[in-house]
C-alpha cells in the first residue's frame, strides 16, 4: 500500500519568486534517489484585449474545495507515476504580467515519469481546481474574467 500523503499548503499570496523556486530545487540535493526533476512554471502573459494589454491577474479561489482538489490530484499523480516527491504552489491575489503564478515540481528516479506527471498535474489543475482569475486590462482599471480552454 502506498503511504498516505498529508494535505499540503498550495496557495501563496502574490507571485511565486524565482528565488523560492531555486531554494526548492536546492532542498532536494539530499534526496539522492532522484534522477530527474520536471518543473512547470505558469507565467502571466500580456495578452491584448479591448482596452489594452493585460497587466496582471487577480486570483481568487474557493479555497477549501481547491485544497481538496489539489490533494486529489496529488494522490492520483502518485498512483499513476513513479514519483519520489511532488510540490504544487499556486498564487492568490495579484500577480503582475511576467511573474509566476503556478509552480509544479515533480521528482522521479527517471525522466519519463517526471515529464508525464508534470503535464498531467498542470492539465488537471486547469480543468478541475476552482480558481478564478480577473485579468486587469490597460490603464483605465478595466478587467475581464479569464477562462481556461
Amino acid at each position: 500500500m502506498e503511504k498516505a500523503h498529508k494535505p499540503k499548503k498550495v496557495f501563496v499570496q502574490g507571485p511565486i519568486s524565482p528565488d523560492f523556486v531555486a531554494k526548492s530545487i536546492a532542498s532536494h540535493q539530499s534526496k539522492t534517489g532522484i534522477g530527474a526533476h520536471a518543473i512547470f512554471l505558469g507565467q502571466i502573459r500580456a495578452d491584448q484585449k479591448e482596452g489594452g494589454a493585460v497587466t496582471g491577474i487577480d486570483y481568487t479561489a474557493y479555497e477549501e474545495m481547491a485544497e481538496q482538489a489539489f490533494h486529489d490530484i496529488r494522490e492520483a499523480a502518485f498512483a499513476k507515476f513513479e514519483l519520489t516527491c511532488m510540490h504544487i504552489y499556486h498564487s492568490l491575489g495579484l500577480v503582475p504580467t511576467g511573474e509566476i503564478s503556478l509552480f509544479v515540481f515533480v521528482s522521479s528516479p527517471h525522466r519519463r515519469a517526471a515529464f508525464e506527471a508534470s503535464e498531467y498535474i498542470v492539465e488537471e489543475i486547469k480543468a478541475n481546481v476552482p480558481i478564478f482569475g480577473k485579468e486587469l486590462v490597460g490603464e483605465a482599471g478595466q478587467h475581464v474574467w479569464k477562462e481556461n480552454t
Binding site: 474557493y62 486547469k126 478541475n128
Partner: protein, 79 residues
C-alpha cells in the same frame, strides 16, 4: 429551510456580495435553487457556471439537504 450560498469571480461581481443565507420554503433540488437564483440575479442567465453542494459539483436533480454550503463556480482559470 436555509443554507449558505457562496459566489465567486464574475458571479460575486453580479450578485454584489460573496456570500449570503438563502431561505426557501420546503425542500429544494439544485435545479430549483438555480431557477430561484436566476430570478434574483437575472444578469447570471447568460453566464456559465457550475453549482457545488458541500464542495462537490452537483447535478440539477440532487436534493439539497441542510446544513449545506452551496457555491456558484464560474469557469476555472487556474494556472
Amino acid at each position: 429551510m436555509s443554507f449558505q450560498v457562496k459566489y465567486f469571480g464574475m458571479l460575486a461581481e453580479i450578485a454584489g456580495l460573496s456570500d449570503e443565507v438563502w431561505n426557501a420554503a420546503g425542500g429544494l433540488t439544485v435545479g430549483q435553487f438555480r431557477a430561484q437564483m436566476l430570478d434574483k440575479y437575472p444578469a447570471m442567465r447568460d453566464k456559465k457556471f457550475k453549482i457545488a453542494v458541500n464542495q462537490k459539483i452537483s447535478e440539477d436533480f440532487v436534493l439539497i439537504e441542510t446544513p449545506a454550503e452551496i457555491a456558484l463556480l464560474p469557469p476555472f482559470a487556474g494556472g
